[in-house]
Symmetry: C2
Subunit: 164 residues, 2 copies
DNA sequence: CTAAGATAATCGTTGAAACACATAATTCGC
DNA sequence: GCGAATTATGTGTTTCAACGATTATCTTAG
């Protein structure tokens, strides 16, 4: 198990200016590689990472909170990565028949987005390969390592989250 | 130092299916937030993360390796995140006057990309704010924590790198 | 010397993201 | 109630990324 350092991977001649820079690049590169594999999987089912996440959020709200759907803005806030254009994201899902929009009667400004049976079916089909890919990507890390990684990542986000 | 867990941030009701999934989402979210701030900074100078990286690579090759430039494909391979369309990336830099193309006389297929004085000037202007942003984002992690984070991220990439 | 194959780079097109602005509905001060 | 301000959402436009197919040059086998 030789450690292929990031510096070597990038053919970088000089060492990194500061450890924070190395960590940042490491983070970007790792996330890019891992996300890339997922995007490939999603694409095979005509989804993207964003649209998949929206479906997951809608299913979660339905299963765990018993809500038929969520306001658009609420969906946007729950996304893993921020996306300013929730409208078109949902548009794509609706065009594919995986989600639907209904106006809220209480507050006619808000649009409730909900998942359709077809959307649930697509998620069901993806559940297993997703789990397998997670396992393949990070399964070789021990439980202790994953816990530590999570701790460090959450700590890393703290100052960035400060100026939200 | 209250730990704002990812589950809470995402308003997720159920715990994560598996630790690998949580780590993946944590990774994606952290990278997204950190990259977002950098993209904002780059954008203020009419660059993107990709174009900035290309400039950094070109400067590095010049400074450390004494090369006037690099073949396009070599630049693409050194990028932090894989980008299949190096041509248009370089197009944008050339249009902005920050890089230039020259044909290699040895092998007339290869195009040597090199950074211009203007490109170097832009990088110089960015060096300090970049360092400051790295410090702001990850400076609150101890040196030991950064080292451990780097170790875990490199380990995480190993199986993904296997099927390149 | 020539044709076939390999390699480097480019181009065409599609689809998605980013950003600013516009629209509709609600709330609040008067 | 009436109109300004606020909130939730939608639209227009530009830019960027992904994928495939194509062109140009080099290499090599015959």
């Amino acid at each position: 198990m030789t450690p292929p350092s990031l510096q070597h991977e990038l053919k970088k001649q000089q060492p990194f200016d500061c450890p924070a820079e190395e960590a940042y690049l490491n983070l970007a590169r790792t996330a890019g590689e891992l996300c890339g594999e997922f995007n490939q999987l999603f694409k095979a089912h005509c989804l993207s990472e964003s649209t998949y996440n929206v479906l997951r959020i809608l299913r979660g709200a339905q299963k765990s909170e018993g809500l038929p759907g969520l306001p658009s803005l609420e969906v946007a806030e729950r996304l893993v990565t921020r996306v300013p254009d929730i409208t078109r994201l949902v548009d794509r899902l609706i065009k594919a028949g995986l989600a639907e929009r209904t106006r809220d009667d209480e507050d006619r400004r808000v649009v409730i987005v909900s998942i359709t049976p077809d959307g649930l079916a697509v998620l069901r089909k993806l559940d297993k390969p997703i789990r397998q890919l997670h396992e393949k990507q990070l399964g070789h890390l021990s439980c202790k390592e994953l816990t530590e990684l999570n701790r460090l990542l959450e700590k890393a986000r703290q100052p960035a989250a400060a100026d939200d």
